[in-house]
């Protein structure tokens, strides 16, 4: 595969901003989202940045940014466009269905879009910081029968192959994947850029196409049902100690050392 023949799709998820302290709804059906600041999932930002860098190095020819969800997802797509993605795809999922949209459905949608658009590199974040599932990249790869480079900290294009350095429990691991492939971004892959004002203005002119899951033949029947969402047990703050000797005494008293 000639490098210029590579076209990338990037998934971007709109999530509650990482700095917001989430609150569980009193009826235990979920967390409060109304009036709460939302942003692009930080791992998706890293995936967008990587795609844009590969394009800047002329290793890929086009970057398509995709988001699934209600109307507001278009803001997230605009952010990706301002970072340098070429065009957007908004898979419109009404709020009612969005509540039960799981990585399983998103993976089916992404796999269908990848085929429709004929892209050969799919870059995603390793996990979304809302549901913390860490599934979409792996499942999309399976639906497409593509190899997967999860938790990537370095990606190198090597002819028809990708070399991916991965963050694993004991350190780092390197794999080679035959293109087309799915890569999921870990924290150390890059540092995403901030969109500059001129680029934000330019992004407003870029195209966002709207598609429906039914157009892609994806069934949104809920797969895993949420029975309840509750507050975790709270830890009580303990005591302040004044000196190292006090600390050692307390730890000995409690049998921890």
């Amino acid at each position: 595969m000639a490098a210029a023949g590579l076209r990338a799709m990037v998934g971007v998820k709109r999530v509650i901003d990482y700095a917001v302290k989430v609150r569980v709804k009193p009826d235990k059906t979920g967390v409060v989202t109304d009036g709460v600041k939302h942003s692009m999932n930080p791992f998706c930002e890293i995936a967008v940045e990587e795609a844009v860098r590969l394009k800047e190095k002329k290793l890929i020819s086009e970057v398509v940014a995709v988001s699934c969800g209600p109307q507001q997802c278009q803001e997230t797509i605009r952010t990706a466009l301002a970072m340098g993605a070429d065009r957007g795809l908004h898979v419109e999922v009404p709020a009612k269905d969005y509540e039960n949209l799981s990585p399983f459905h998103v993976s089916k949608i992404l796999a269908a879009l990848v085929k429709k658009e004929g892209v050969n590199l799919l870059l995603l974040g390793k996990q979304a910081i809302d549901d913390d599932c860490n599934q979409t990249g792996q499942m999309t790869a399976a639906f497409l029968d593509w190899p997967q480079g999860t938790f990537a900290s370095e990606v190198t294009v090597d002819g028809d192959w990708l070399k991916v350095e991965r963050e694993v429990d004991g350190g780092l691991e390197t794999v080679r994947l035959k293109l087309p492939a799915v890569v999921t971004a870990d924290l150390r892959l890059n540092e995403p850029r901030y969109a500059t004002l001129p680029n934000i203005m330019k992004a407003k002119k870029k195209k966002i196409e709207v598609v429906k899951p039914s157009d892609l033949g994806v069934d949104l029947t809920p797969r895993v049902k949420t029975l309840s969402v509750e507050d975790p047990p709270q830890r009580q703050a303990g005591v302040k100690v004044e000196t190292v000797d006090d600390l050692v005494a307390k730890l000995k008293e409690s049998g921890r050392i």
Binding site: V31, G137, M139, D169, L227
Partner: protein, 313 residues
């Protein structure tokens, strides 16, 4: 009802989180089998067959399984599933399990459940969302329940007393889409982070990688593992495998000592189930003090060496 646990190992030894996954599998009820695939892992299969509660061990040895690539393991597990019809398939929620299980689930056309912390019934699981800021109970009605298990939430299964049978599986034909090139693992004589009884973690307050020596010296006195906050890893002080938090490792030791860590929610997600938490930070307002059993507001560069010296006595 029957559960298959996918074993994680190095060919030499079983990775400890597999023992936690086996306990979760036993909690589901029904027969528990383990699948071990590798290049030369007969020893691991023997080890697995002695674990209490493991009825059967499926062993597949082939060069294909070098590096335990998910692309090659998936067809093997699918073949085992076709033969034995498990109702549940699980593994530890480690980098290995997290990478493999969703791929497997998609191939079975089922939605998986990640990183469970509790099993309420064979189809109902509890997991954390929003960096541990909420607990979510989910019901999975899929024909096969595929789930990964948070190691710190389940005891390790006893490694002796079992007498499981051993059955060899032949390897399906290679997929050939991926190759394992190599790994660079961090070498350490200290206990492993996720299974250590005492963990000492450093944050941005350490100011440099060299200064982590203060923590290593303390760790040597306590036979502790050393971890880090994301800020310390991102700053390049220490390697990624030391990161404790929402997107790093989850630990729940008997004693957790947070040094120079402010306590962002993403970090708390990785350690707040520790039995006793000590925080050392010069900023009295640092959020870490809200979860600490014992807080010491002080300059770490002064008190950490003092603590090391006090423990030497």
């Amino acid at each position: 009802q029957s559960t298959l646990v996918i074993a994680e190992h190095t060919n030499e030894a079983l990775t400890p989180i597999t023992l936690n996954a086996i306990t979760a599998a036993k909690r589901v009820g029904g027969e528990v089998s383990c699948l071990v695939a590798g290049t030369n892992c007969e020893k691991v299969a023997q080890e697995l067959s002695k674990i209490q509660g493991v009825a059967k061990v499926l062993l597949a040895q082939h060069d294909l399984y070098k590096g335990l690539l998910p692309e090659e393991l998936t067809p093997l597990i699918l073949a085992a599933q076709k033969q034995f019809n498990y109702t549940h398939i699980c593994a530890g929620a480690s980098a290995f399990g997290k990478s493999l299980l969703p791929r497997l689930a998609a191939k079975l056309d089922v939605a998986p459940v990640s990183d469970i912390i509790k099993i309420k019934s064979p189809d109902t699981f509890v997991r954390t969302i929003y960096a541990g800021n909420a607990l979510c109970t989910v019901k999975c009605e899929e024909k096969v329940k595929v789930f990964s298990v948070r190691g710190t939430s389940f005891e390790a299964a006893p490694v002796s007393g079992g007498s499981g049978s051993l059955e060899k599986l032949s390897a399906p034909s290679p997929v050939g889409q991926s190759e394992w090139v190599g790994q660079s693992l961090t070498k350490s004589d200290r206990p492993e982070l996720t299974s250590a009884k005492i963990v000492i973690s450093g944050g941005r307050g350490l100011k440099s990688g060299e200064n982590f020596k203060l923590l290593y010296d303390l760790a040597d006195q306590l036979h502790a593992a050393v971890g880090a906050s994301r800020a310390a890893v991102d700053a390049g002080f220490v390697p990624n495998d030391m990161q404790v938090g929402q997107t790093g490792k989850i630990v729940a030791p008997e004693l957790y000592i947070a040094v120079g860590i402010s306590g962002a929610i993403q970090h708390l997600a990785g350690m707040k189930d520790s039995k006793t938490i000590v925080a050392i930070n010069k900023d009295p307002e640092a959020p870490i003090f809200q979860v600490a059993d014992y807080g010491l507001v002080a300059d770490l560069f002064k008190v950490v060496p003092e603590l090391t010296a006090a423990l030497k006595k």
